[in-house]
Symmetry: C2
């Protein structure tokens, strides 16, 4: 029996409401974006009481579908001021789904900070715990597990969210109870902070679990889908062996690894921060490669990284993080980068936004590129303490550029461009420019056909075919983000004709529906249209579907390429809307 | 012989070009906005080399038309990211017009900072003076007068412009050679700073002067216009007697003086900072009320303010400044406010943007409302030195709100709302919301009919008639801003049927044209349309023609009014476009 739970923090009320007919077929991103569109005025202040936070597990979350533990959260982003769907792994999606929550809608603003929302088989209740004030996510977890039990899942904000920094994330605990999975992008930790909500505790003990209409059909489809994933060289092997950081060498080789704030596509000492080096280091120090962030994940792209004394330092150490603090900042010391990752997880900051921000900050005369000691000092002394400099850097690249008068800032819709240079991987450049989410590689991961030769092959240095590629991927991604499946299943989906029908089989077996592959495609388009309409009302136009001008002006070595898609070409992305 | 001078700082070139036919009838704002529209891509980074700065004297500048010494500057605003026309008094407009400059277009970006542009009867040349680095506008003036002569006019930036702060102004010297007039709004000092241009020196010795087609007709019209201005109680008396600060008591009485960051429309100790108190203080200390900022100004709204030892402290001490640092920040000490005014003039910061920013900053727990000592410390120790906190506050209210996570920020299109609460003076609220310039009282000064009973009478607390009023004023203002006439002539223009025809008579007598009053009205509409089209291409939509939501939510004492114009009503403002 699925329900939507509404928590109004201004009124301190919790309401359980039935799922309206029109929301029945929606989950994950489809549901969060639709509820935000239906209920929140697009010009509302992201940190005001009219904004909402909507959590929704994917359609398949809580089942035994492989790697189906993604949770979506929707809101107006304090970073972009547009609609935002951020999604995270960890154990929350499965717990919420098993407890029968179709969606959790957080409204209003508490009078007092340090609110804690507790969700268990008896329902949802609001508590307060002032001892959590100012604590990092690691310590928050320790305290809450003492109080609510060792097995609870915790979603929480660190100091960054409390400071309402626009790069603030919401942490989600993983299978080892560590706050290393995150709703990273878009600053939604600041929305949670503005609402006075410090943490959400989820206890799935005694949860009814997810009903399946046709158990046998589900089991068969699920088994088949697992095999498809495991048979693919990326999702079945490379990710488990080297983590997402396997991409460092690949992108560096391709000349698309943005280095020194997007001045080059090659980082001379890339090998020192590569996935291969990372994995070797992890093994030497008795860490763990090939870690799964939620039960039932069969790809295991995550890891546990120990310091040089063999003590736990961080986990879920990803390509984008290593790139952002590494090549982008000219830092080639994996232990330092791991420490910065740890800081971001504990403070509750998006590693991509924060890393890119440091690279932008390195354009000033206050810090040099490569100065890892100063980055460390700033994390410990400035960001954690919320000093003015800490507040600036916690606000992301766009604001940092604005405050320091820098005109070379890699952002789209105020969100930092991640780890693939749009000039040398033009397909992902199209995604950055046009996504409803601001610059976001996951919104349409054209790195597939551009670099990895997955789902076809398109010359990354040429503009031909890139708009069609990005469009197809953005539509498909919106659908996948609604299923609860990890986006990494896409590698297999793109290369196997059987994959998408099998996903549809699982959904039909669970819900007793008769969906087709076409329906899934239509759902993706529908999601993008809803998000785009919302953004339009919030004040976004085609003028925002553009890369910063320096990508059109400056040539990127080693291929000496510029971003050369015309405005008309970019605008043709939404030809279905 | 009028010419346009183009200075390209990247190429270090100066080109004198003939005025194209289509620009012949344009001056001031009409010309700056048209050139920016024609030549600058709206999505260019405001601090990048593709942005331009266009200075243009008004059509009547340089003549003996009364109070016709206003100079316009156009650009993309680093503050709003839209088109900007800022205009200033001082002696620059008359000098440039007499030297035959129809417009001065600054392009590109110098490799070295501290460029100085020298304009005299022999032309325009570029020099460099590294001894100016980091100096405030007062000292810059002293040094440049030593070098180029005591009588030169100087337009310069202070440290704020060099730091590229988005609240940075461009200072213009007045009749006493003090840098107290300013292109305040929109952060154009940062554009000048980004271009590496520290100062523009203008020497009008031997200037050919402005030709008049029909000298007698001009003299007659000019004399008539002077009489109209002097016969009006506001422009002929109140402004000279009490300066613009005469408005403190008037707005306080009307319940529209925004107090403590727009929490009330009444400031308990308003009398301590009123125009009457200011004038009394000035007289006691041998300062000067009724001062003119340029030769031939017959209104004399300016002043010279001495400290309690009788020494010069500041000049051009205005209502908006006194309000911003006064009522808005809960500070009722005129000497402190005068010191802050001096700091802004010297650092090169817009007093409105900076004062409003302090009030927003007072929402944090880093400073209390009313803490004048801390404001002083921040000016001296943070902003002047360009510390992180200084850089934040120098970036204006919107960025300060963003950095510190404040959701109660009085801005429209990222520019701070000035000294009239939009709930209690609804006509000016309409102007704030809809102006192409961001929140700007001068763009359509509905305070006239709302409060001053000039040009009719409309209940300021009601929405009826406000859109029509604001529209008429915005159109008229765009025209006036193109003539070089000070906007304060509008008081007389609104109350005298003879005034506008007389302005047209002066223009016709100067240029030998046959313009009518209808043409002037059409010109105003044309300017607004051009600016609006530019903003549309820059990414502005109706969603940006809105006040912050708290004005619709919070009642303003003492009248307990909200801003209640609907979106449709606001959008009807541009029904002529």
């Amino acid at each position: 029996m699925n329900n939507i739970f509404r928590v109004n923090l201004s009124e301190r009320s919790v309401n359980q409401v039935e799922v309206p007919e029109s929301y029945q077929a929606l989950g994950g991103r489809a549901l969060t974006s639709q509820i935000i569109y239906d209920e929140v005025k697009p010009t509302s202040h992201p940190l005001g009481e009219n904004n909402k936070l909507v959590f929704a597990p994917g359609l398949l979350s809580g089942t035994r579908a492989p790697s189906s533990g993604r949770l979506s959260v929707g809101s107006i982003s304090p970073l972009t001021k547009g609609i935002k769907e951020s999604n995270s792994g960890g154990t929350a999606a499965q717990d919420l789904a098993k407890l029968g929550l179709k969606a959790l809608v957080i409204e209003g603003k508490a009078e007092q900070d340090n609110q804690v929302l507790v969700i268990d088989k008896d329902g949802v209740r609001l508590e307060e715990d002032n001892s959590l004030a100012g604590l990092g996510n690691y310590e928050v977890g320790d305290k809450l597990r003492q109080k609510y039990g060792e097995k609870v899942t915790i979603m929480s904000i660190g100091p960054a969210g409390e400071y309402k920094m626009t790069a603030a994330s919401i942490a989600v605990t993983d299978t080892d109870d560590r706050p290393v999975r995150a709703f990273g992008r878009g600053g939604l930790g600041a929305v949670m902070g503005a609402k006075g909500l410090k943490a959400i505790v989820i206890d799935d003990e005694g949860a009814p679990g997810v009903e399946l209409t046709d158990e046998d059909a589900f089991k068969e489809a699920s088994r088949k889908f697992s095999k498809i994933i495991l048979d693919h060289p990326v999702s079945g092997e490379a990710l488990r062996n080297y983590g997402t950081a396997v991409l460092i060498n690949i992108l560096n080789e391709a000349g698309g690894l943005p280095t020194e704030n997007f001045r080059s596509g090659r980082f001379e000492t890339a090998n020192k921060i590569s996935g291969e080096t990372m994995t070797e280091t992890i093994k030497e120090r008795d860490g763990k490669p090939g870690h799964s962030c939620h039960p039932g994940c069969i790809m295991g792209c995550s890891n546990v990284y120990h310091d040089d004394k063999g003590e736990y330092l961080t986990a879920g150490f990803e390509y984008e993080t290593i790139w952002a603090f590494g090549a982008h900042c000219n830092i080639d010391d994996l232990d330092y980068i791991a420490y910065f990752d740890r800081c971001c997880d504990d403070l509750g900051l998006d590693t991509i936004e924060t890393g890119v921000t440091f690279g932008v900050f390195m354009e000033t005369d206050m810090i040099e590129f490569g100065d890892k000691e100063e980055v460390k000092r700033i994390f410990d002394e400035e960001i954690r303490k919320g000093t003015p400099l800490g507040q600036i850097l916690g606000s992301g690249s766009e604001t940092t550029g604005r405050v320091f008068g820098i005109d070379r800032v890699p952002t789209v819709k105020r969100q930092s461009i991640p780890a693939y240079d749009p000039r040398a991987v033009k397909g992902v450049g199209v995604t950055y420019a046009t996504s409803t989410q601001g610059a976001d590689h996951t919104a349409g991961y054209s790195v597939t056909a551009n670099i990895l030769k997955v789902g076809g092959e398109i010359n990354p240095l040429k503009k031909e075919g890139q708009v069609d590629l990005s469009r197809d991927l953005q539509v498909a991604t919106a659908s996948i983000d609604s299923t609860g499946l990890c986006l990494f299943v896409a590698f297999a989906v793109l290369d196997s004709d059987e994959a998408l029908p099998t996903v549809v089989d699982m959904i039909n077996a669970q819900y007793g529906t008769n969906l087709t592959v076409d329906d899934v495609n239509e759902l993706g388009q529908q999601i993008l249209n809803v998000e785009r309409k919302f953004n339009e009302k919030a004040g976004f136009t085609k003028a925002h579907d553009r890369l910063p001008e320096f990508f059109e002006k400056e040539e990127l070595p080693p291929h000496d390429v510029k971003f050369d898609l015309s405005e008309e070409e970019l605008d043709s992305l939404y030809n279905f809307s």
